[in-house]
């Protein structure tokens, strides 16, 4: 530990850490627009500049290691004026349309302008005007609002290993764009939306399908069905100021009914269904010498990543559709037949923590008899917007239960929302499928937590299986490269595109931190601990579906409705 003097007060800092980290720990708030925890500082925004004794200019605290005895002034007039100037400069090239902006009141630029007391347009001049990129089914880019902090670029490159976007041009003409400045839809973008999560302004946002959903709800001839992903019920509350980690599944169901949805289903049911299919597939591959390791296919960003960058692993991907698409498929088949509704009259909506799900729903493979399995995908954020728009007071609603036949789920299906959840659920059921017996302890601690790569070996009957759980695609790259290099001890790999899994997905509430993600994860595992039905194969609704309609896992009907295929995609790297 070293001691430094900040604003005439002595504080303790860890040797070698950056000044900004030490300041934050001591409760001294220095603003920043470009700092990203865990990544090497880029020093681009200059908002965190402070005055350090003996230094000529101002020093960015994010990129300056602490030194014993250093004397720092964080809010000297010079430093504050510099920060204010930076914000004023950004505003001089920013469209003044806060009232129309999707990030109004959630914008860091707006927040800092307010904090620093910007009250006049000190610097004026021409503003850059660019075309909005609305080509992607998942993400909208509005370069006019971009302040070039570079967080999206670093997220895409350093965390996700995709590098779909980078800086283009020089000086004040610099923008963030794709290769050859083409639309995002033809770039290598995997639609994960992590760029949206780190964007401080409204330059990046989800492609919204709110209007389509509202129109469908207003159409009396349509049966509007909604499904909600396992992680949504533990994050939605944050949009309404309730503390992170609160599960409001019942209240959310009530809200869906108030919004006018005709049926409310839980994607957790489809997650159980996925486990039945995927577990069977895994067992089959192991027994029949199929392609191993098998890799999960729930996360559509990951799927596109493999198709683009690791096409030699396409056969390793499970052929199962994701839970969203399985649910979509059974809604427009079993449910429609069962209820005597023309599938063409069903409008199927899914609420997802994810922007890539919007892309997934539009994949041509994800349709049956010319009808898309899922018609519109909304993120957690869009759902919250819709609830607010319709004047629904979340606090006054009482919890309600979901509808049959797809409203019932096991907790195995619920923990899909966290990285490691699919693996844990799959191992529970695979053990049962192979041995006919339940695991002694259903809790598999090794696959839980926020680590990017988690590995374990587990004995199932006479077999010893190697399992890996990966989240964040740069981590996936590492594991895939090992396998390419000849690693053979792995049988099953779960990959989630977003670091931490769906609870930290690109469609979740903005401005959340790692603590919030931890709280969400904790809640999912608390639900798993406390509820009675903890394995997918013991979900009665799933059992009934197989009995009445699908036959057996991996059977003909299942293959027709619940399985798919993937294709190699060419990308400009």
């Amino acid at each position: 530990m070293v001691t430094i003097e900040v604003n005439n007060r002595k504080i303790q800092a860890k040797e070698g850490e950056m000044l900004l980290a030490a300041l934050r720990r001591s409760g001294i708030n220095v603003p920043t627009l470009c700092n990203m925890e865990g990544l090497f500082p880029s020093g681009a925004c200059r908002m965190c500049v402070v005055e350090i004794d003996g230094q000529r200019g101002l020093t960015p605290s994010c990129a300056y290691p602490v030194q014993d005895g250093m004397k720092v002034k964080t809010h000297s007039p010079r430093a504050v004026r510099a920060r204010k100037t930076i914000i004023e400069l950004l505003l001089s090239n920013h469209p003044d349309d806060c009232l129309y902006c999707v990030r109004n009141r959630q914008c860091q630029l707006q927040g800092l302008a307010e904090e620093l007391g910007v009250r006049q347009r000190r610097y004026t001049g021409d503003k850059n005007v660019y075309k909005m990129d609305t080509s992607s089914p998942s993400i909208v880019r509005d370069p006019d609002k971009c302040i070039l902090c570079g967080k999206c670029v670093r997220m895409c490159e350093e965390v996700q290993g995709v590098s779909a976007i980078d800086f283009i041009n020089r000086g004040s003409k610099a923008i963030v764009g794709t290769a050859f400045d083409e639309g995002l839809n033809v770039s290598s973008c995997i639609n994960c939306g992590q760029c949206v999560m780190v964007c401080p302004t409204g330059a990046l946002r989800e492609q919204s399908y709110l209007k389509e959903v509202v129109d469908a709800l207003d159409d009396p001839n349509r049966v509007v069905v909604v499904q909600h992903a396992p992680s949504v019920s533990v994050t939605l509350a944050e949009e309404f100021g309730i503390k992170p980690g609160s599960d409001i599944a019942g209240v959310m169901t009530a809200a869906f009914r108030q919004l006018g949805f005709d049926r409310v289903f839980d994607t957790g049911f489809a997650a159980d269904l996925t486990i039945m299919e995927e577990g069977t597939e895994l067992v089959g591959r192991i027994k029949n010498g199929g392609k191993l390791p098998m890799m999960t296919s729930c996360s559509p960003g990951w799927i596109k990543f493999v198709e683009e960058f690791y096409p030699d692993f396409i056969e390793n991907l499970s052929s199962c559709k994701s839970p969203q698409q399985m649910m979509g498929a059974v809604i427009k088949s079993y449910f429609a037949e069962h209820e005597g509704i023309d599938p063409a009259n069903i409008f199927s909506v899914s609420i997802m923590p994810c922007t890539a799900k919007k892309f997934e729903a539009q994949r041509p493979e994800m349709a049956h008899n010319g009808l898309a399995d899922v018609d519109a995908v909304l993120t957690t954020r869009e759902l919250a917007r819709m609830i607010r728009m319709r004047g629904i007071d979340i606090g006054s609603l009482s919890a309600e239960g979901a509808d049959t036949p797809f409203g019932e789920r096991s907790t195995a299906g619920k923990i899909f929302g966290a990285s490691g959840g699919v693996m844990e659920a799959a191992l529970r059921s695979a053990h049962f499928l192979l041995t006919g017996k339940e695991l002694e302890d259903l809790k598999i601690q090794q696959v839980r937590g926020l680590d990017g790569v988690k590995e374990m070996r587990i004995k199932v009957g006479g077999l010893e299986l190697g399992a890996a759980v990966v989240s964040g695609l740069n981590n996936a790259r590492k594991v895939l490269d090992q396998i390419r290099a000849g690693r053979t001890d792995l049988h099953f790999i779960e990959v989630m595109t977003c670091p931490g899994g769906c609870i930290a997905g690109g469609g979740q509430p903005l401005n959340t931190d790692l603590d919030a993600v931890r709280a969400r994860m904790k809640t999912l595992y608390t639900i798993d601990r406390d509820e009675p039905v903890r394995t997918s194969h013991s979900n009665p609704s799933v059992q009934r579906l197989y009995k009445e309609y699908l036959g057996e896992p991996g059977g003909h009907k299942s293959h027709e409705l619940l399985h798919t295929h993937y294709q190699k995609r060419e990308v400009v790297v």
Binding site: Y64, S92, T124
Partner: protein
């Protein structure tokens, strides 16, 4: 090519291409010899003398064929010369040399006749070749073309021809880095060796420790010539003392200042000097790999460098286990795509790594964690080119020249409103007045001197009252300028200082990498403010006038913030041209702002035209030529200009035969 290496003077000589003798350089330079027979030594000395061209056996014509010479027409001169020699079947040698520095006099052609010293001729375009050659072959020196003859101890000087070293352009110079430029064939390693080249390096790697080398350089007081002025020896020691399996040396040849061409001239004219300097530096800091980061817009320099590297490898002066010393060095050329910011060392490192050329925050400093995460030293071309003479002659010799804190010499690219533009090398401590007035020959056309801009877009201007400031890192700082890499632009009374500031601001805002906000957005707004100051009322709409005054009020505040907060040197010094012109030429700014007038008559928007009714004969020509229909008047009676309509194009002034149009 590779003459010295191929030739064996006796049986004891065993060197050959690919298997050079460790004592090669010492032997070639006549210092150490295993050839003890007098004939052998005699032969060797003769050969060296021939390479030094102490005398020539047949007429030898040297053509300045650097980029500047070629631009002035040296290519055509060469062609005509070859045709002339072929036609007359004259046996003569043609040597393409680099730039000697006197760019204003290009194309330069030197001729050396057997038994006579070399004579230099100026402005030899192709049409002059025949006359020049005719006279010289006839034994006469054409006086109208001559620049001067080179001093020689052994040869009889030409009568009535001045000495080059007494020429006002050359006399005040101290040419260390440029010693060989324009004199030797840059494509010949032999000529470089014959003039003492590679001795310092060969001696160092076989008899000096890296630490001792660092000490010598530190004691010499050599400071970075790229502009920063950091003590070179001390910088090396950071890398030397950082343990690592791999270290890198990078030569920064990404010369980007407008009007600067020092590095280009050195590489084009004397590439081996740079290679030797790099080899010495690499050995001293412990690097086995070195990069030359050079802009792709320097094709000739790159070509010369490639050729030089190939030759040095052949001679065993680069590559594995150089001269049996155990030291190995590989030099790689990396071409930059012409981004000014890539001259900044961390941006340069990014660029070599294949990333976008954007600076990184420091610390970590490159000397500790640089290229590919390894200790890296980045030195400028001129810094490295100083090393061969420095190591040969020692720290004391080097530090004997210069001022208290700035030692040695500095190369400048002298340009702008000065009689003799070109490349000059002067001892530190030389007053700027001497460079401009003596070496440069003062301001052409009898105009008055106004200022020199030193240090390019990062530097500042020095006005008349400080013209006696000495070339010295610290004294330049005191007057708000910097040493910079060597750009020296002279401005006369016809230069508008607001316009100058605007030019540099425009350059900087276009060349900013766009990474950090103050530099990206701030320089652009500063340019906006300057543009508004130089704009006429006509082009001001709405709140224009208010914005114009508001901009002026916040100009310095903005400049200070950019200086204070920018990420790299480019941004931190970006406001310098504005702050410096504002400091010395505030009155000019005020004239623009309050009187809406450009005292130097440069800012077109602020020019006003009026017709002198006494002189005007009413010929109507001006009214006919006016593109804005701003001139009124009946034929044969005085005309007048409607100020609101006038677009200040100046057509009327040009066409008026009676000088009746007055510009003010």
């Amino acid at each position: 090519m590779a003459k010295l290496l191929d030739e064996k003077c006796c049986d004891r000589c065993w060197h050959s291409p690919g298997k050079p003798c460790p004592d090669l350089v010492a032997c070639l330079a006549g210092v150490k010899s295993c050839h003890d027979s007098p004939e052998c030594i005699e032969a060797r000395q003769q050969e060296i003398s021939m390479l030094r061209r102490d005398d020539v056996r047949r007429p030898t014509v040297f053509v300045g064929a650097g980029t500047c010479g070629l631009g002035a027409g040296a290519g055509k001169t060469l062609k005509t010369l070859r045709a002339y020699l072929a036609e007359k079947a004259i046996e003569a040698d043609i040597v393409e040399v680099g730039c000697i520095g006197l760019c204003a006099a290009e194309p330069l052609v030197d001729i050396q006749m057997p038994g006579k010293p070399r004579v230099s001729f100026q402005k030899i375009k192709q049409d002059k070749i025949v006359q020049l050659m005719d006279e010289m072959l006839d034994g006469r020196v054409p006086q109208d073309m001559v620049l001067g003859q080179f001093r020689s101890d052994k040869l009889t000087a030409w009568d009535g021809v001045p000495m080059v070293d007494e020429h006002p352009f050359f006399a005040p110079q101290t040419r260390w880095v440029l010693a060989n430029c324009g004199l030797i064939d840059p494509g010949s390693i032999d000529e470089y060796i014959a003039r003492g080249g590679y001795r310092a390096f060969a001696d160092s790697i076989r008899s000096t420790t890296p630490k001792d080398l660092c000490d010598v350089v530190e004691q010499s007081g050599l400071r970075g010539r790229g502009g920063g002025g950091f003590p070179t020896g001390r910088k090396w020691k950071f890398a030397l003392n950082t343990p690592s399996d791999q270290k890198y040396l990078i030569c920064n040849a990404d010369e980007g200042d407008p009007g600067a061409f020092m590095d280009r001239a050195v590489i084009e004219g004397d590439p081996h000097r740079l290679l030797e300097g790099m080899a010495i530096a690499a050995y001293a800091m412990g690097a086995s790999k070195a990069y030359v980061y050079i802009r792709a817009e320097y094709p000739l320099a790159i070509e010369r460098l490639k050729q030089a590297i190939a030759q040095a490898k052949e001679y065993g002066l680069l590559g594995h286990n150089i001269l049996d010393s155990g030291f190995s060095l590989e030099i790689i050329i990396k071409m930059g795509a012409g981004a000014f910011v890539c001259g900044e060392e961390t941006a340069l490192i990014n660029s070599i790594e294949g990333k976008r050329g954007m600076p990184r925050p420091r610390p970590p400093f490159p000397a500790v964690q640089g290229l590919f995460g390894k200790p890296t030293i980045i030195n400028n071309v001129e810094t490295l080119s100083n090393l061969p003479p420095l190591i040969s002659n020692g720290a004391e010799w080097f530090s004997a020249v210069g001022t208290a804190n700035s030692k040695g010499t500095k190369v400048f690219a002298l340009s702008g409103k000065v009689d003799r533009t070109g490349l000059v090398e002067v001892a530190m401590g030389t007053p700027i007045r001497q460079i401009v007035m003596d070496i440069g020959g003062g301001i052409p056309g009898g105009k008055k001197f106004k200022a020199v801009q030193i240090g390019g877009p990062s530097g500042g201007c020095i006005p008349t009252q400080h013209l006696d400031t000495e070339i010295d890192y610290e004294s330049l700082k005191q007057v708000g300028a910097i040493m910079g890499s060597g750009g020296l632009v002279v401005m006369d009374e016809g230069t508008c200082m607001v316009d100058v500031a605007k030019f540099f601001m425009d350059f900087i805002q276009r060349e900013s990498c766009g990474k950090c906000i103050p530099c990206r957005e701030g320089t652009r707004r500063m340019l906006d403010i300057l543009k508004r100051i130089t704009r006429s009322r006509r082009n001001e709409a709405g709140l224009g006038a208010l914005e114009r005054f508001q901009g002026v009020m916040y100009l310095t505040r903005l400049a200070e913030s950019i200086k204070d907060t920018s990420l790299c040197g480019l941004g931190q010094t970006a406001p310098s041209p504005v702050l410096s012109t504002l400091r010395w030429f505030r009155d000019e700014y005020e004239a623009h702002i309050f009187d809406r007038r450009c005292p130097s008559g440069v800012c077109k928007d602020l020019l006003h035209y009026r017709i002198d009714t006494v002189k005007c004969k009413g010929c109507t020509l001006c009214a006919k030529k006016c593109p804005a229909d701003a001139i009124m008047g009946a034929p044969k009676s005085p005309h007048y200009i409607v100020p609101d309509k006038c677009i200040s194009c100046g057509n009327c002034e040009e066409v008026c035969r009676f000088h009746a149009v007055v510009k003010e």
